[in-house]
Subunit: 322 residues, 2 copies
């Protein structure tokens, strides 16, 4: 049977080139890192639980990708450059046919961003994956939730709602063709962290976060932290390519309160619109202007004709929702 | 019902004094830290699973203490000074009568070492606690597993085996009086991380680690990494005060292969014996010399009379043991 040490060595060990920032990697009581001079470390943790954040029979390669992607997405939302991560994982058993694709899916994405696996823990237990990620960022350039200013534009990266559409199909809330379901599921399982855009927005965007629990709920975090309000133009929201086949009502609903989008929502002054568009081009990431930051508190949502919508979708809460 | 945000705010939020190293705390996508100039960051992760690492009905205050203590113990084993930690926790429900003592037990220990809770994640799921901890250490002073040298003395902090004794009583392997059981259980549930000793040993000790899976198994990690062997004098091993009431055989067995000791095992050159003893006094931590590092590979264990023992206790492995 595979021991804990063999398991780590076989599936979670990478031979990395020498780099003075990584004084000591895996295998000791601690890893040692020395951040680049003149940078701060950005640190974020996410825990994913089987049956809650993913289906127990989820494709392990996609799951490995997603667990790291949601953490990279937090770095993107600050404008940080990925540096390394620790992985703590509880597994019901040391199943190699699961571990091999899981670690490959995770480490392939990690390699794409030169983000090193620097330590962690493995244990027996209900399948639970906990990642803590580290990124570097020059002081004062981090995009914080409390930094939105009145008159800022509100922007969204990529498109929204396809992941929520996949969930709706799983839950039989609506019917999708097999090909549409597959494409939507891919958006849910394989989110693309917006690292390049986040870094390109340093010094341009004021506030930013990544949309994980739905746009309205997450934007409200910016509004509360920044002590401002906002208006959103619902019909400018960039619906995902699969979602655009649905009714207007579903498009609006899933764009506003989807969840699992992992796109950036950020604010920037109107005089920097061209700079934002250029940051999008440089990072090959679509960006769409969808609203304004206002002095009066609260979030107002309007349709194309300027009529207020009475949508009050609530965001996802792990303890108060079903 | 308590929402995720309320839960974090009520139980896992501390108002900390301003400190330039902590540019941004809880509540954003990432925390931001700027380590002290001229230091490296030491990073370690541990995951504790209900039913595996602790009993489901474990006292929550002790559990909060222990989850952080085992991570602090990893910092101690490198000689690092605690800086901060992230906490990711899956809970079956938001039970305030459990959360209040859990967070108090954890944060009281954190405060004792000025170690800040800088971020994390809470979610619904089988009770699982995952901590990633950060400490600071001047470059080149970290005590690594691969740094033991031939002729080094082998030292142990504190005492061994009481935690294993508590487990033996739980498992009805042997009978303890109520008071002895309680005292042993306290050693198991409330380990004291040897932070002060670890820092005092900088520049004195060569190799170090914390004993979590049993002395023999853990010492073997040093021997393998350092490509050396060792001899241990079993009768010099510092048995815990409750364990000393047991037979010599049980004392030897639980000292050699206890588990959950969270004492430091370290090596230092014989000419620095007085410096090691002084580090022990300064940190108010007992230290005991128990063996030697040898050039010939393998671990030999001798009794007081110099006779070799044929004890081959194996260390605890999360996947190959029952």
């Amino acid at each position: 049977m595979l021991s804990e040490f063999d398991l780590i060595k076989r599936y979670f060990h990478r031979q990395y080139p020498s780099d003075p920032r990584f004084a000591l990697g895996n295998g000791d009581d601690c890893a040692l890192i020395a951040p680049t001079k003149g940078t701060q470390l950005a640190i974020s943790s996410d825990m994913l639980v089987s049956g809650r954040h993913f289906f127990a029979d989820a494709d392990p390669a996609m799951l490995g990708h997603k667990c790291l992607a949601v953490n990279l997405s937090d770095l993107a939302a600050m404008g940080a450059k990925p540096l390394g991560f620790t992985l703590a994982i509880a597994l019901p058993e040391a199943d190699e046919s699961w571990l091999a694709p899981f670690s490959e899916g995770m480490l392939r994405l990690a390699d794409q961003y030169q983000c090193r696996l620097i330590g962690g823990d493995t244990t027996k237990g209900p399948l639970t994956i906990s990642i803590t990620i580290f990124g570097e960022i020059p002081p004062t350039t981090a995009m914080r939730r409390d930094a939105a200013k009145v008159d800022d534009d509100i922007w969204i990266s990529g498109t929204l709602g396809d992941a929520r559409l996949a969930l709706a199909a799983y839950w039989n809330e609506l019917a999708l063709s097999d090909s549409a379901h597959l494409a939507a599921a891919r958006r849910m399982h394989m989110p693309a962290p917006r690292i390049e855009l986040g870094m390109a927005l340093r010094g341009i965007a004021h506030a930013a976060l990544d949309i994980s629990d739905g746009l309205v709920g997450d934007l409200n975090h910016i509004l509360t932290s920044s002590q401002v309000g906002a208006s959103l133009d619902v019909d400018t929201l960039p619906a995902g390519p699969i979602l655009t086949q649905q009714t207007q009502e579903i498009q609006r609903q899933f764009c506003l309160a989807g969840g699992d989008d992992y796109e950036l929502c950020f604010t920037a002054p109107p005089e920097l619109r061209e700079a934002v568009l250029e940051a999008g081009r440089r990072s090959q990431t679509p960006v769409t202007r969808v609203g304004k930051i206002l002095a009066s508190r609260g979030l107002q949502i309007f349709d194309r004709a300027g009529n207020p919508l009475d949508l009050r979708p609530s965001s996802f809460d792990h303890f108060t929702s079903a």
